[in-house]
């Protein structure tokens, strides 16, 4: 290095600039780097009922970015640096190829925002066994039961957790007789199954279930159609609708034959995040997110935020950037995640579902937060929502 001193000043400056540009690791010099990949696939835009709400195409990634910023503030003090690399697979692309070519062996932590079947295709790649996937998008119960994978953690509440949250609220309100209306998609059937499971669990009575088969453009005939459709022989307390895409559910409210509240995928909705949520410091993150992105935080943003924050929390506590210590810590009793829900969040070891309160919201107000007071559990009341340990269908955890 003797020669460096002798370099003319200009060359010296060029040398420094070259170092700065060529090596991003210079910025992280002396810091432990935690590399996180974000893998998503562009979805086909599905038809919507109305143009009231803009279609948001970047749900998820902005939450991950905010969490990187938050984690790096901690990292400033702990000499850790968190980085996020984004991989966006086109609609007709192949997420498995992208993983194999660009993520495998390079990233131990991968936040995924993928469809149900694609999530497990990626999880089953050989190289993915040496990584931990943070599923920030699916709500499928199957992925947490029969189709569970030991290298996947699930951030968003499953359909069963959502249905249980609604059921607890209905039980509290003594709305015990339900009329279940089911749309015609595969997801609607899964949602309806979750509702039926909750009805059984909380001893509620589904007086009738009906498939909604009417045309989607019900704008002209909804008034008459819904009145006829909801005229039942047996009376009911509440109409529970299963319409995840929102193709008809909005038409039910105020148009039923008898005046009955609508809950489920429309009306009173169970979700992990909503713009009306402002308790427990949620206002702060709502503000930070909106200031950064110019829009409200959506559920997938929250899922991705929690995923990156979970990695950040575990990396900070274990002072590590390696898979095994971080995974062990995430699944241990010591792990607690702050999620603006008034209680600490953690992963269920039997199915890797993040246990968390579920918000029950109307479009412009937060109605309740489940678990509803009075639903007790010997370990944590959060486990009154969804599949508890004795009920799990997840095999790998039973083998352990």
């Amino acid at each position: 290095m003797r020669s460096i001193k002798m370099l003319p000043r200009l060359a010296w400056i060029i040398f420094i600039i070259f170092q700065l540009v060529a090596s991003t690791s210079l910025f992280a010099k002396g810091k432990q780097v935690i590399k996180i990949a974000y893998l998503t696939q562009t979805q086909k835009v599905r038809p919507v009922l109305s143009n009231l709400d803009p279609v948001i195409e970047n749900k998820g990634v902005l939450g991950a970015e905010l969490a990187i910023e938050d984690s790096n503030t901690t990292g400033e003090y702990t000499k850790q640096k968190f980085s996020l690399e984004k991989f966006i697979v086109p609609v007709d692309g192949n997420a498995v190829d992208t993983f194999n070519k660009q993520i495998a062996k390079k990233y131990a932590f991968v936040v995924t925002n993928l469809a149900h079947d694609v999530t497990n295709k990626v999880a089953d790649i050989d190289a993915a066994k040496e990584a931990l996937l943070f599923d920030a998008a699916t709500i499928d119960d199957a992925l947490r039961n029969k189709e569970c994978r030991a290298n996947v953690l699930h951030l968003l509440p499953s359909r069963a957790m959502r249905a249980d949250a609604l059921a607890q609220y209905m039980m509290k309100k003594r709305w015990t007789k339900w009329f279940l209306v089911i749309g015609n998609t595969k997801e609607d059937k899964l949602y309806a199954e979750a509702i039926k499971r909750s009805a059984k669990k909380f001893n509620m009575n589904i007086v009738q279930e009906k498939l909604w088969e009417h045309t989607f453009d019900a704008r002209k005939s909804a008034q008459a159609d819904v009145a006829v459709f909801t005229q039942l022989e047996d009376d009911y307390d509440v109409l529970v609708v299963a319409d995840e895409q929102g193709q008809f559910g909005e038409y039910l409210d105020y148009r039923t034959w008898m005046p009955r509240p609508v809950i489920g995928t429309q009306g009173l909705v169970a979700t992990s995040w909503h713009r009306t949520h402002e308790q427990w410091g949620a206002t702060q993150i709502q503000n930070r997110f909106k200031e950064k992105t110019g829009r409200w935080m959506e559920e997938q943003d929250y899922g991705a935020y929690l995923a990156v924050r979970a990695i950040g929390e575990a990396a900070t506590r274990t002072k590590s950037n390696e898979l095994n210590p971080i995974k062990d810590y995430l699944l241990s009793d010591q792990f607690t995640l702050q999620g603006y829900k008034g209680t600490s969040l953690s992963f269920r070891p039997w199915d890797h579902q993040l246990r968390q309160p579920v918000l029950l919201v109307a479009p412009r107000s937060l109605v309740a937060v489940a678990p509803i007071e009075g639903f007790l559990h010997p370990k944590t009341e959060l486990d009154t929502l969804g599949y508890d340990q004795p009920e799990t269908g997840c095999q790998w955890s039973k083998e352990q």
Partner: protein
């Protein structure tokens, strides 16, 4: 008969000596409750501005500083007349702040901006804004005026700010969502509560390392309901007290052995704590049950709860 009169006079004298006023901010009522804790009465409720939360009394007990969060301002209230005598610019959404022992400098947590604002009260001037972690909340000044410690909820850190230079010189990582911090009277130890970590960390002010981590267990209350918030230590450094939020308990901790001696059942979602001037009583604000609890510290029993208004948040006491 004479004895009775004598005892009556003695009682009146002692009552006069004990006379004190408790001020409680009522977040949802936009008001301040004025309480006579000896008589156990709510004397009056005074309008103070929108969403009052943090409250601090000046060392001479003449001025109350109240953060009215939705007005984005800190108000100064005369403790005799209960009239507003001035305002301090606080930055957006002020919640918690603290006065130094001299009473001339205010340190404010600006939660949305991740900053601590240092303000000269006499000059009404911001001396410095110190960048800290995300969502700073709890803040305290050591009794020897050497340190300001700010706790950031999302960064999970205690930031040690040198009071002379207003620069962060050290950071201590604590359990999830640190909420409140306070020093022992001799300034050697810092106690910090972690709301989501369900713990209390005792940090050595010399090494800035955690020397003891205390967790709480209340029979019949699940762990996730135990959310430590307010913390306070008596002048003799005998005992510390921690408000456990929705566990509806105050933990009594031996400040020497760090053993939890007792859990006192108070109102719902107990939040902030204050001593009576003689340190014989502890006052707690209970956010959900809309009351304050009065604890007799000689006997460690809750003697009274007193309805004060909606969402009692902060508490300050004047002799």
């Amino acid at each position: 008969m004479n004895k009775q009169i004598l005892s009556a006079i003695l009682w009146m004298l002692s009552a006069a000596a004990q006379a004190e006023t408790v001020f409680v901010t009522l977040e949802k009522d936009n008001a301040l409750a004025v309480v006579d804790p000896i008589a156990g009465e709510l004397i009056k409720t005074v309008e103070v501005g929108r969403r009052p939360r943090g409250i601090v009394i000046s060392p001479d007990y003449k001025v109350l500083y109240i953060a009215t969060s939705d007005d984005n301002i800190i108000k100064m209230i005369d403790t005799e007349t209960m009239k507003e005598i001035g305002t301090l610019p606080s930055g957006d959404d002020p919640e918690t702040f603290v006065l130094n022992p001299k009473g001339d400098t205010l340190y404010i947590s600006n939660e949305d901006d991740s900053r601590v604002t240092v303000m000269d009260i006499a000059k009404l001037k911001v001396i410095k804004q110190v960048q800290v972690g995300v969502e700073p909340e709890g803040i305290t000044v050591s009794p020897d005026s050497r340190w300001i410690v700010s706790a950031s909820e999302t960064t999970n850190m205690l930031h040690w700010i040198d009071a002379k230079t207003n620069i962060i010189v050290e950071n201590t990582l604590v359990d999830a969502r640190p909420r409140a911090v306070t020093f022992t009277p001799d300034s050697t130890m810092l106690w910090a509560t972690s709301e989501m970590g369900s713990s209390l960390s005792i940090v050595d002010a010399g090494t800035k390392q955690i020397v003891k981590r205390i967790t709480f267990e209340v029979q019949g209350v699940t762990k996730d309901k135990i959310q430590p918030v307010g913390v306070i230590i008596d002048k003799e450094n005998k005992r510390g007290y921690v408000a456990l939020g929705p566990a509806n308990r105050v933990a009594v901790i031996n400040a020497k052995t760090y053993e939890v001696e007792k859990y006192l059942l108070v109102g719902q979602r107990v939040w902030n704590l204050a001593f009576s001037p003689d340190q014989k009583r502890l006052y707690t604000t209970n956010g959900v049950s809309n009351d304050i609890s009065i604890i007799d510290l000689d006997n460690l029993t809750v003697t009274k709860s007193l309805g004060v208004g909606n969402y009692p948040w902060g508490v300050a006491v004047k002799p």
